[in-house]
Symmetry: C2
Subunit: 279 residues, 2 copies
C-alpha cells in the first residue's frame, strides 16, 4: 500500500526519481493529467478520495490520519501546548560521504542528511522523492503558508516505513533561497503535464546544512494523498524557508492548488466522518 502511494505521489507535483545523480523532473500535477486516480477538484478531490477506491478507505475513515494538522497555538511561544513534539537539530550527527569532498557529486550531502535523519528515526534512510504543495498543507496558528516542500524517505527494504520532512515556504518581498531558486529554474523546461526533464545536478549543500541546523516538530500521521496510509513519521521544520515572489508565481502557474483540507487533531474522529453526521 505504501509503495502504491508513492507511485501515485510521483505523478503529483514535482518529483525527483533519482536524487543523488541525474535528476529527473516530472511536471507538477495538472488538470491535463488524466484523473484516473485522484485530483484536487471536487468529486475526485480530497473530500471524496475515499469514494474513488476501496484502497482509499483511510482518507475518509481513518481515526488517526490527522495530517494535515494545524498547530493550534503559536508554536514558538507555546511549544508545550502543541500536539507535535520537537526533535533536536541533528547537525552534529551529520555524516559526510566520500563523494562530498570531490564536489559535483552531491549525493554525499544528501546521504549525509539521510543518515542524520536515520539517526533520528532509524527507519527511513532513502530519499525517494520530493515534491511541493501550494498552499501549504500544514497550518501554523491556523494560517496556511504559500507552499510546502515534502521530502519523502523510505526504507531500503521497501517496507512500510515512510518518513516525510516538511519545509513550509513563505514568500517575502526580497527573500531568496538558492536551493528553491535552483530547483525552479527548470520549470520552463516542463511546460506541459506529463513532461519530464533531466537535471544534471542539484547543489543541495547549502540547503542540507540549513536543514541540519533546524529544529522540527515530530508526529506520526498519514500520507496526505490517497491511500492516506497511516504510520507515516512527519518532521515539520519549525522555521519556514523563503521564496521569491516571481518564483512563487511560476510555481503557482504550474502547480495550481494541491493541498488537502485540514484534518482533525491526532486521534480524533476523521473530520469527514464528523461532517457526515446529519447529511
Amino acid at each position: 500500500m505504501f509503495l502504491a502511494a508513492i507511485s501515485v505521489l510521483s505523478f503529483l507535483p514535482i518529483a525527483i526519481a533519482s536524487c543523488a545523480h541525474g535528476i529527473e523532473w516530472m511536471h507538477p500535477f495538472s488538470t491535463d493529467i488524466a484523473h484516473g486516480t485522484f485530483s484536487y477538484e471536487t468529486t475526485t478531490g480530497p473530500l471524496n478520495w475515499h469514494n474513488l477506491s476501496a484502497n482509499n478507505f483511510l482518507c475518509g475513515n481513518g481515526t488517526n490520519i490527522s495530517k494535515p494538522h494545524p498547530a493550534r497555538h503559536n508554536v514558538r511561544n507555546r511549544a508545550a501546548r502543541i500536539a507535535l513534539a520537537r526533535c533536536p537539530p541533528c547537525a552534529k550527527r551529520r555524516v559526510r560521504e566520500p563523494g562530498d569532498e570531490r564536489g559535483g557529486h552531491h549525493g554525499g550531502d544528501l546521504m549525509g542528511w539521510q543518515r542524520c535523519l536515520e539517526s533520528q528515526t532509524a527507519r527511513s534512510p532513502l530519499l525517494l522523492l520530493f515534491h511541493f504543495h501550494a498552499p501549504s498543507e500544514h497550518r501554523v496558528n491556523l494560517a496556511h503558508y504559500e507552499a510546502e516542500m515534502h521530502f519523502v524517505f523510505t526504507a531500503a527494504d521497501g517496507a512500510a516505513k515512510i518518513t516525510v520532512l516538511v519545509f513550509l515556504i513563505q514568500i517575502g518581498p526580497g527573500s531568496s533561497y538558492p536551493f528553491l531558486e535552483n530547483i525552479f529554474s527548470y520549470l520552463p523546461s516542463i511546460p506541459k503535464a506529463g513532461q519530464a526533464t533531466q537535471v544534471s545536478r542539484v547543489d543541495m549543500r547549502g540547503f542540507v546544512a540549513h536543514a541540519n541546523q533546524m529544529s522540527y516538530y515530530q508526529y506520526t500521521g498519514s500520507l496526505t494523498t490517497p491511500p492516506c496510509s497511516e504510520g507515516v513519521s512527519w518532521y515539520v521544520a519549525t522555521t519556514p524557508i523563503p521564496m521569491y515572489v516571481r518564483t512563487y508565481r511560476n510555481l503557482k502557474n504550474t502547480i495550481g492548488s494541491n493541498n488537502r483540507h485540514t484534518q482533525n487533531a491526532l486521534g480524533e474522529m476523521n473530520i469527514l466522518q464528523v461532517a457526515a453526521e446529519n447529511l
Copy 2:
C-alpha cells in the same frame, strides 16, 4: 436569514460598517475571537458548519449553493465552457453623485458605482460591507489566488437580495494597487481581534473607475459563510487586482486563512453530501 448572515460576516474579516462617510474598521477574523458561531478550524470549520446550527442546513445540504465554484477551464480562452456568464462592463452607465465634484466626499463615487451595479442587477444597491478572504474562495483554472475581496450589496428594504462583487487578488513582485495599499495601511491600528478603528475617508475613485471598466462573470450561488443562504447574485471580476508582497504578508498575519472548501458545480449535489457516502 440574510440579515443574520451579514451580521456574522461583519465579524469575519475586515468589515466596513459605514462606507460613504466615516468608516469603521473591525479586526479581521482571528483565533482569539470566540467561536460561538463558526470558524475556519476543523469541527467548527466549513466542513462542519451544517452541524453547528439548524440555520446552517444549506451549508451541507444545499443543492445549488455551488459557491465557491471553480471555473473549470481557462476562462479567457474557453468562456463558452464555463458556468459563469460574463456581464458587460458598466462604465458607460456610471452615474456620478453631486458630492463627487466637491472632493473629499467620496460617497459620490461609491453611489455611482452602486447605481451602476444596480443598473445591472436592479436589486441590491446598498454597499453593506466589504471584507477579504485568503486564500481566494473562487478558483480559476483550479488554482486559488492569494486573496479575494468581497463587496456585499443589499437592498434598501432589507429584503433577501444580496449581490456580491468579487475581486481576486494576486501578489506580484512589484505590483501596487493604491486602493488596497490605502486600506491596509490601517492594519497596524487594529492589532487585536475585536478592535476597531475609525478611518476618516477612503478614496475609492481610482478603484471604482477601474471596477467600472472591468468585465465580470455572473452566477447565482450562496453565501460562502453560514448560513450559506442561496439566491445570492455573484459578480466575479475577470481580471485579478495586484497586491504588494509586504501588504499581503501583513494581511495574512492578521487574517490567517479563511476560505471555504471548493463546492461542486452549480446545481450538482453538495460536495459534503457526496463525501458522506460510504462514511
